[in-house]
């Protein structure tokens, strides 16, 4: 039951990330088509894609395989490795909690500022930190209950 919910939680996060990336790609593509096909730019598109991009990163961060040097942890025995992972997780959760805590005043501070072309409040940009870091914390905790698929591990360069 719980295992099923964890799997669904992860699928939902992945679907949200995929949807955001599809939106970023679509808007950027249409922007070029509009410029040459219809002869006018879309002034809101740059702000929109940047806004969606930050949300994309913050949502996908909860599920991404994060860059790290695992040379030493790989040499540890399973028990010691688990202990190290618990310490790292605690540090991560502490830092993410700190980001959320210090982000709240920014939300309040920017609630009166608006995107020039898009017209929405900049506070919604800073909400991405609260939402993203919150989901990330949940993901870190869930990884102890049910480790994610190792075949998703990948590097980036």
């Amino acid at each position: 039951m719980l295992t099923g919910s964890v799997v669904w939680f992860r699928r939902l996060l992945d679907a949200a990330a995929a949807l955001l990336l599809a939106a970023v790609t679509g808007v950027t593509f249409v922007r070029v088509v509009a410029r040459y096909g219809f002869g006018h730019g879309m002034p809101w598109s740059e702000e929109a894609t940047r806004f969606l991009f930050v949300w994309l990163i913050m949502i996908a961060a909860a599920r991404a395989a994060h860059l790290r040097v695992d040379l030493l942890t790989d040499m540890l025995r399973p028990r010691a490795r688990l202990r190290a992972e618990i310490v790292f997780a605690a540090l991560g959760i502490g830092l993410l909690g700190f980001l959320i805590w210090k982000d709240l005043p920014l939300i309040e501070l920017t609630s009166g500022d608006y995107y020039t072309a898009l017209g929405i409040s900049i506070e919604y940009l800073y909400w991405s930190v609260v939402a993203g870091c919150g989901l990330w914390i949940i993901s870190i905790l869930l990884a102890f209950y049910l480790p994610p698929d190792p075949d998703e591990e990948m590097s980036t360069s």
């Binding site: 940047r50 990163i57 040097v69």
Partner: protein, 428 residues
């Protein structure tokens, strides 16, 4: 003092295995609290978001997606069969096929790891069947995939350009000639090595087959032309080029080659999103790090220290190469760029190098690090695909790495290798 405070915890934390994003956040936070306690800590989330909120960086997500879609849509396979009909009959035929396919893949994708997985998953098996030693096949795919981030587009070049304030388009163009040199060098070494290995040649494909394969591959072959040509011609920005590449690849996958399923498209989107997030959160965290470096004048201190050594520029360039090669052996190239570029940029006048030349030089260094132990993702991937030990891959990759080192020397000491193409293209 501040440099030690900043780099000390960062090094310790990242070496014991803390994810880099947390190591960067923790070391920045410690430095901030100790050296300027009056700074409101709200700057941390603010800089974190601002570091990610940047239009040129969107290109990272889009080129990741284009690369993933190339594999899902069967374009890699198409490029491989095309290259096979062209050069498959040569003595080192399949090795040359791998180099040509990597070169063509590199024109759309910007990531070595993605290219190695894409080309290697098909080519290493066929090379083994044709009698090549598995270690040789893996080593070839491993080193040829370096072309991904050297030939435009390139994810490391985008990140370097944003961090150093150079033009993404100029960085892309600067990689073209070094990329061609690497491809030719690898091809020559492969040819020579295959003579030693006694590989049996395969029959030449008939002209009819060559023509039909070219026809079938033509849509795939057009992709790099559209992407690189469009960016270089100023028709669209590099970021927009990423979206064009992704949509183009998807459209030919759906309507021309018709092999792609919805699940694979979804998988490509998810993998590209995860890859982007893992890079971008480190970039976000590093903008706090970079802000402290600028705020405390750390890079100026460092530049004065290096300047005080009184070494000749060519010695400094050599030292930088050694430093970046060493860093690349341990650290992911993108992480290394993100951490080191802000500190290193003020040193450029002392090296007598243009920022563009410097960028190509350090990216090439870090990419060579991907082919060396102890932490070489490309070795792991290709050894895994070839079902052989990493030692076997490393042994066979030495002559190929020699080629990369020669090109690295040329990039480091001959400015025209990197600067000539951007300068004539930017011209007049």
């Amino acid at each position: 003092m501040s440099l030690l405070l900043l780099l000390g915890p960062l090094l310790v934390l990242s070496l014991i295995g803390v994810p880099l994003v947390f190591a960067l956040l923790a070391s920045s936070l410690i430095t901030l609290v100790i050296t300027s306690p009056s700074t409101p800590l709200e700057v941390v989330p603010q800089l974190f978001v601002q570091g990610m909120d940047n239009f040129p960086l969107l290109a990272i997500a889009l080129f990741f997606l284009a690369g993933e879609l190339m594999v899902a849509c069967g374009i890699t396979e198409r490029l491989l069969t095309f290259a096979q009909s062209l050069v498959g009959h040569l003595r080192s035929g399949l090795a040359q096929v791998g180099i040509i396919a990597s070169f063509l893949m590199a024109g759309v994708s910007g990531s070595a790891v993605a290219d190695a997985a894409a080309v290697g998953s098909i080519l290493i098996q066929s090379m083994k069947k044709a009698g090549y030693p598995a270690g040789f096949a893996a080593a070839l795919v491993e080193t040829a995939s370096i072309l991904g981030p050297i030939i435009p587009p390139s994810i490391p070049f985008i990140i370097y350009a944003v961090l150093s304030g150079t033009s993404v388009g100029a960085m892309f163009m600067a990689g073209v000639i070094p990329g061609i040199m690497i491809a030719i060098g690898l091809a020559l070494v492969a040819r020579y090595r295959c003579k030693d290995l006694g590989i049996v040649t395969m029959p030449r494909a008939s002209r009819q087959v060559v023509l039909s394969e070219t026809g079938r591959a033509s849509f795939a072959l057009l992709a790099p032309v559209i992407v690189v040509g469009g960016i270089r011609g100023g028709i669209f920005t590099p970021t927009e080029g990423g979206a064009i590449a992704a949509v183009y690849v998807l459209v030919i996958g759906l309507f021309v080659y018709r092999g792609v399923r919805f699940g694979e498209i979804f998988g490509s989107l998810v993998r590209a999103a995860h890859g982007t997030a893992s890079v971008m959160v480190v970039l976000g965290a590093s903008s706090i790090f970079a802000w402290i470096i600028a705020d405390q004048g750390i890079s100026r201190q460092f530049a004065n220290f290096i300047g005080g050594l009184g070494a000749d520029p060519w010695v400094l360039v050599l030292l930088f190469n050694l430093l970046y090669l060493a860093v690349g052996m341990f650290l992911d190239p993108i992480a290394a760029l993100i951490i080191l570029v802000p500190i290193m940029m003020p040193l450029l006048p002392k090296l007598g190098q243009d920022p563009i030349q410097f960028g190509v030089m350090i990216v090439l260094n870090l990419m060579i690090g991907l082919c060396t132990p102890p932490v070489g993702y490309l070795i792991f991937i290709t050894a895994n695909l070839g079902k052989i030990s990493t030692t076997e891959v490393i042994k066979h990759s030495l002559p190929f790495i020699g080629v990369l080192m020669v090109v690295l020397l040329l990039v480091s000491y001959v400015p025209a290798v990197t600067l000539w193409l951007p300068s004539i293209l930017a011209g007049h």
